[in-house]
Symmetry: C2
Subunit: 265 residues, 2 copies
């Protein structure tokens, strides 16, 4: 049985994945300290790092948590990784998804298998259903509108989230992420046409055609708090395509704040 | 010769249009006070308002400046406008563009012609060319990426602006508008991967298929100040599709701040 390595990103996913595994090796991109102890590695020395994984008996790798594109130091490259630079630079022109896809390909070329998070922790990705509260008909219309928006923006490799209220898009997720988008939506909540109408929702979905082995959208108890602070009616997401961390706590906070949680099929 | 009526919205476009016309009649949606004296009218009494325009000898109407969707008071409708409510409500489900298109149709059904702003003031909509500074190759790539993004999001009737830096989308314009988007981009400027690389740009374009008689994206000297405050390298826009207010002052401020202004063909 080969060992498993966790590439820990930021956020609560890495601790959850690590806790579910039997003594995994844990690594993190240098400069992006995760919430768990991890051995740092540099993208500029990717090939020696992959050689080290193989030597350590690693056969499977799981990416757990958000990784931002690192700043690259041209002088830090080893000769073999330097050969890969044209591939990575080309991918960078097409956005973060393309970079991650290219990095995954390089892992696979080293005979490492990339596992999906829900292969390790199936309960992390909720199937269709309402987990807290009850979305209204207006909320369901807003969710449909948000899903339509994300289907189009996701194809451009931008964003996995939107805030929609009364059919209007208050905010779209870009590089700064979900919490920044919810802050923005909260600051402009007064723009909803009908002050007594639907308060709107946060909607999350993976990008169409996204590689589900990395970078699935992730929500959790903190997201519930942020959505409540933004005055939203609830959170909806594409069932089967979004990681929900600490489901019990997220449901508890949603019920306490009067928010719905809805894995939309 | 029929008289012309200006429907004045917010921002600097209405004063510029009014100054160029000979004693136009000026109106504004109640609750959205423009920067010029204007007779208010209510969408709930649209039909009597249109009858009044015809009685006053108006044959042409120009929409000048941003109009937000008004809050509607169900008790304020007159009986004939009430007949139009199903059309307007249906359009509201599809976003602001659909509402505006429906309102334009109602004007036309009353034999009023809607003029484009650049029919009155051709200089307001710059043709292709660099008006200040010089976009770099990296800026040109960012502009191409932004144009690609807006072509897709515009089809969804959201946003006419984006901030792109080093190929990454920092912000997308939604209901709160350009200034709010630039504030957001400024707050998250540190996310650019290469601190010494391209600073990025604001890009503006009309929505694909948009009715050019209303709601063209508008930039001006204030936009230059906001883009400079956000640390951007410049502003680019779709040539022929964006209104540039007070071109001389915008160029002066752009040159002073070291920003480019580029009507991209």
């Amino acid at each position: 049985m080969s060992r498993i390595a966790v590439i820990a990103g930021q956020g609560g996913l890495a601790p959850a994945v690590i806790a579910a595994l039997d003594a995994p090796l844990v690594y993190a991109l240098d400069g992006f300290a995760p919430e768990v102890p991890a051995t740092p590695f540099r993208l500029e020395r990717l090939v020696p790092f992959l050689d080290g994984l193989i030597e350590a008996g690693v056969g499977r790798v799981v990416f757990a948590g958000a990784v931002r594109r690192p700043r690259l130091d041209p002088e830090a490259f080893d000769p073999r990784t330097a050969q890969l630079v044209p591939r990575i630079l080309t991918a960078m022109q097409s956005g973060d998804d393309a970079v991650l896809r290219e990095v995954l390909r390089i892992f696979e070329e080293h005979d490492l298998t990339i596992c999906r998070v829900d292969e390790i922790l199936p309960d992390l990705v909720p199937a269709e259903g309402v987990l807290a509260g009850q979305p209204s008909d207006a909320d369901r219309r807003d969710a449909a509108r948000a899903a339509e928006i994300l289907a189009a923006t996701g194809a451009l490799d931008i964003g996995q989230g939107a805030v929609v209220a009364q059919g209007l898009c208050l905010a779209l997720e870009t590089l700064p992420g979900t919490a920044a988008m919810l802050d923005f939506a909260a600051a402009h909540a007064g723009l909803r046409p009908n002050a007594k109408g639907a308060r709107g929702l946060l909607y999350k979905a993976p990008k169409p055609g996204q590689d589900r082995r990395i970078d699935l959208p992730t929500i959790g108890p903190d997201t519930v708090d942020q959505a409540a602070a933004a005055g939203l009616a609830g959170i909806a997401w594409q069932a089967g395509g979004v990681i929900l961390l600490d489901r019990d706590e997220a449901r508890r906070r949603a019920e306490a704040a009067g928010l719905f949680l809805w894995a939309r099929g």
